[in-house]
């Protein structure tokens, strides 16, 4: 069985702050991590490898430093890693990203593709299902449990108030929830092997059978204009009293809320 896992290097959004003036994310000094949903997908693939002897390849599209998440995946037990990196892919939205990753998967060959449900920096949850459409394979999203039944997979899709059990044949694409499993720790030896012994294959624009109009910024029909925090406003209270009474009322309220 051949499994491809798509992973993304993302800023650890628990540490990200918002610039109060520009309303944009301050990314400097923020540590980068493997997207949690993707890590669950990787763990699911590794469990299939443990039980059925699958070969697991991890791929990522990103700048050169994204190789770190591939090293982490190799240290966890993935067999191979491919870094898809080129200026031509920069600025991609989910359409362009999914076209690029689908082309890479097509070139590698697969029985199962795992992606995370969504990335914690983009939050679109679109790339996985879009990839399945490009590749014309079934997509089972929001996977909370996976069972390998030999000639098919049984996947439990989890929603807020219910779940589905879906039987799917391979090849297929599954998007994983972080709740799917508890990813294994790397081992110290796995880390050393990942950094010192294993090679990461690098693919650039020239290596992928994909059209120019479907990659990078130019191939992106959508664009993020602005990110800003949600401003929470309560309904407010209208006070219609005399001046002195109103002042006293406000002072009492501020003391009640420990502001004074």
């Amino acid at each position: 069985m051949r499994i491809i896992v798509c992973v993304k290097q993302v800023p650890d959004t628990t540490e990200v702050r918002l610039d109060p003036v520009k309303g944009t994310l301050i990314r400097e000094g923020v540590p980068s991590i493997m997207n949690p949903d993707d890590k669950a997908g990787l763990e699911a693939a590794l469990r299939l490898k443990d039980s059925s002897g699958a070969e697991v390849t991890v791929i990522t599209m990103g700048p050169p430093q994204a190789a770190d998440v591939l090293r982490e995946a190799l240290a966890m037990g993935a067999d191979d890693a491919v870094l898809i990196t080129d200026r031509a892919f920069g600025g991609a939205d989910t359409w362009a990203t999914s076209c690029t990753l689908a082309a890479a998967c097509g070139r590698l060959g697969y029985d199962i593709i795992f992606t995370g449900r969504q990335a914690i920096d983009g939050d679109t949850a679109q790339v996985g299902p879009e990839m399945a459409e490009h590749l014309n394979i079934p997509n089972v999203s929001y996977a909370a449990a996976i069972e390998n039944c030999g000639d098919h997979l049984l996947v439990k899709r989890e929603f807020e108030d219910r779940y589905h059990e879906v039987k799917v044949n391979t090849p297929c694409l599954i998007t994983a929830l972080a709740e799917l499993n508890t990813p294994r720790y790397m081992t110290p030896g796995g880390i050393f092997d990942a950094y010192r012994e294993k090679e990461i294959t690098t693919w650039t624009r020239a290596d992928l059978p994909v059209e120019d109009e479907n990659i990078g910024l130019k191939g992106s029909p959508t664009k993020v204009v602005k990110s800003f925090p949600k401003t929470v406003k309560a309904a407010g209270m209208k006070i219609e009293r005399g001046v002195d009474e109103s002042v006293q009322f406000i002072m009492d309220k501020l003391k009640e809320k420990y502001i004074l």
Partner: protein, 379 residues
């Protein structure tokens, strides 16, 4: 000279940090209060290869090095000094002894399960009358045909009762002084090998510290490590490496106490502001941080020297001497900056202060470190 950690070491450090935060820290206070050996944590560490970090894969180890092992002990000790010493005693004092001095058969039989996480190790040298003066061994080993018969006892042995494999020292020739000491491997459950009552200690309370008692304990003669009379040299060279592990533990204790204190002083308000705003706090933290970094440099230097197969005894002695002193100083200041809360169990720094003291004592007291360092200077 590059003082930054390369990527694989940073990745390993992050692994140990994550593991320590998620698996070790939640139990730290409980095992200290209950004087409970954290068997469940040891099993997890065995599963993820933390108990065989510097040993070759051919012997079931992780194929990493001393620096990686030091990073592990440091990160574990930041949250729990007990867990740090369990790894250190097992790795440096038992497994490394067999790796450096054992025969191929002994390595296959004992090192492989130790390094691969199937068994836990311990080191039995100290006796009631033989602490710093390790030459005063009273435990005896007499050859009888295909076996040695051990009689005597050891005290203050880390991992005692919990470990499966023990490197033990005994006198095979009482007339030869230190040249009459030999080293043996003894397995738990060998008839005639029992344990005393666990010691209740000032700190590292979850670490099993116990007597080993040998009463006509028969072991195969193949369990002699090296040759008769070579035991003292084996013990001393093993303790050299062990010092790096304890230095890493002390460094971790100090670094953990510093981190907690930095967080605390930002939150604690007195006189209308966070105490982090007062110069006394700031200057004290600056001193603490500088001492921690100085200790770190010495510990990593000793580990790197060992990995480069250079002589490292002096580096190891300096690292342990400095790091243990820093652990005491930093934890003392940490409690002081916490004020009354620093004296309260759940704020953790009081436990760190109690844990720190032993690092000046075991695996060679600070006074012994000074003997080693000055002996080298004045030769």
């Amino acid at each position: 000279m590059d003082f930054t950690l390369q990527k694989e070491y940073k990745a390993a450090q992050q692994l140990f940090k994550d593991f320590a935060e998620k698996e070790v820290k939640p139990l730290a206070q409980e095992i200290d209060e209950q004087h409970r050996f954290p068997r469940e944590t040891v099993e997890k560490m065995q599963k993820f290869g933390f108990m065989g970090i510097p040993f070759p894969k051919a012997y079931g180890g992780q194929g990493c090095d001393t620096l990686t092992y030091v990073l592990c002990v440091e990160e574990l000790s930041k949250v729990c000094a007990t867990t740090g010493v369990i790894v250190s005693a097992h790795t440096s004092l038992c497994a490394d002894l067999i790796y450096k001095h054992g025969t191929e058969e002994q390595k296959q039989k004992y090192l492989a399960p130790l390094a691969s996480g199937k068994k836990l190790g311990a080191f039995g040298l100290t006796e009631p009358g033989a602490g710093t003066d390790a030459s005063g061994q009273q435990t005896k080993a007499v050859q009888d045909g295909e076996e040695y018969v051990l009689n005597g006892s050891k005290i203050f042995i880390t991992n005692a009762g919990e470990a499966d494999v023990y490197a033990v020292f005994a006198m095979t020739d009482a007339s030869a002084g230190t040249k009459g000491i030999s080293c043996f491997i003894v397995e738990k459950d060998t008839p005639g090998f029992t344990f005393g009552t666990p010691e209740k200690k000032m700190g590292i309370c979850g670490s099993a510290t116990n007597e080993l008692i040998f009463s006509d304990c028969r072991i195969p003669k193949e369990n002699l490590v090296g040759r008769e009379g070579k035991g003292f040299g084996i013990a001393m060279s093993t303790l050299d490496g062990g010092r790096i592990g304890i230095a890493a533990q002390a460094l971790g204790i100090a670094a953990g106490a510093l981190e907690r204190t930095v967080s605390y002083v930002k939150e604690r308000k007195q006189f209308g502001r966070a105490i982090a705003g007062f110069q006394n706090t700031q200057f004290t933290l600056a001193d603490m941080a500088t001492e921690v970094e100085a200790a770190r440099c010495l510990v990593y230097k000793a580990a790197t020297a060992k990995d480069a197969k250079q002589k490292f005894s002096i580096d190891a002695a300096m690292a342990k001497l400095k790091a243990s002193r820093v652990a005491e100083y930093v934890t003392d200041r940490a409690v002081q900056l916490h004020g009354g809360y620093g004296y309260i169990r759940e704020y953790e720094v009081e436990r760190m202060m109690r844990d720190a003291k032993i690092t000046e004592i075991y695996e060679g007291t600070s006074e012994v470190m000074k003997m080693v360092i000055s002996g080298n200077l004045l030769k």
